[in-house]
């Protein structure tokens, strides 16, 4: 469950990372659903990075009133996907090489820290969740020609990484990692629709997960670091190539 807007850094009430992470369970307010839709629109690149968000147009596009629209945008600000300035309105956060590099760098720092803590503190429950998330991810197909598989894969991928560090017992840290993962996903969704040829991502995930449940701290952390680093490097290349900077 990504949104994480049930409360700020709530002490992680979730029993097990709900598989149906992103389900729009119909039970929410318009504001929540809208936040969900907008988030997807931004992460998928449908709403271009850096572009201004005209409230009137958005209101009409999504068929909602201003109140829930602002509500939704406020949440995306917390997520770092939208920026805001008094009397100037909202705009989709820009992407840049520097931003990508920072995200990658911070992910390395924070996720490794959180993984280490998880291995130190995680219980059997956590181990089980990790193995499940791994299995589900590795079973999911990822066909660039079929967007719905990409979306599904992204969801499971994020779920995997979050589950991996979910045993750390640090809600705020988890919150930060979730944000970074979110930000990172946007770059991947926009620039990478397939895995680069020289990588076997499934295997990378397996190595990390197995090292984690075996409590092989150094090995698992090292694998994770490399994993994040490689993704960063690939993204950097693609960003430079398609280079809209």
């Amino acid at each position: 469950m990504i949104p994480d807007h049930d409360g700020a850094f709530a002490p992680t009430t979730e029993d097990a990372p709900s598989s149906s992470g992103f389900l729009d369970d119909g039970k929410n307010t318009i504001g929540s659903q809208l936040a969900f839709r907008l988030r997807e629109a931004i992460i998928s690149g449908e709403l271009q990075a850096g572009s201004k968000i005209n409230l009137d147009k958005a209101r009409k596009t999504f068929n909602v009133s201003l109140s829930p629209l602002r509500e939704a945008l406020a949440r995306l600000i917390s997520d770092g996907l939208v920026e805001f300035e008094d009397n100037r309105g909202y705009r989709v956060s820009s992407i840049s090489l520097a931003n990508l590099e920072e995200i990658t760098n911070l992910r390395e720092e924070f996720e490794i820290f959180a993984l280490r803590e998880s291995m130190r503190l995680g219980d059997v429950e956590w181990e089980g969740n990790v193995m499940r998330a791994l299995h589900r991810l590795n079973r999911a197909e990822r066909d660039a020609a079929r967007p719905e598989t990409l979306e599904r894969w992204e969801e499971l991928h994020r779920e995997f990484h979050l589950t991996l560090i979910s045993g750390c017992g640090k809600p705020i840290l988890l919150h930060f990692c979730r944000l970074l993962l979110n930000l990172n996903d946007r770059y991947r969704r926009v620039f990478l629709t397939r895995t680069s040829g020289d990588r076997n991502v499934s295997q990378e995930h397996s190595e990390i997960a197995q090292g984690a449940v075996a409590r092989d701290l150094d090995y698992s952390c090292d694998m994770l670091r490399q994993h994040i680093h490689r993704t960063g490097t690939n993204l950097r290349k693609h960003l430079a190539t398609k280079g809209i900077l």
Copy 2:
């Protein structure tokens, strides 16, 4: 300037940490001013941790309409000071021993990381800002009997810590540190109105700052770690004593 709501993780436009960090420059929208007032009310303890925020009452108390009130609360959610649940409304984030410990722990990790980066990358401008912030802080008085001096000291103290790490060139990291500092300040404001007898906080700050501009990485980082750690320990004691947990 703390609020940091000019945009998500904006590439730090600020030339120098504006001394007038918190000035309510009158030029903002009602929502912004309200966010400012509410933040102060929460950090100062005026709004009790864990308490529910009744929109109607708040609306009347602050003499505003619902829209700006929700706007303001949305910002405090980003700050981690307020929690929210669909159809259930808002409440002031709770405090707890675990929460305090996490904040302290993460501050140690992140601020040290950011300080190290600042020392690696910071320019003369940064050095100057650090020395200025230090001077201003050490000159400020802090009299438990006069709340306005406490408030002022807190502002300068936050400013000092932020300036110290402002050279790191990592806007997102800075954003996270700012949040943690904010959260931490609430504990101090509520539980510590004076420095514990066995500490010379001014000297601690001086040591950190001087080590920083001298680029003595290990020394400065170590001093900062101890500084944060001591504060955490003190707060923990007071929390246990006045223990409303």
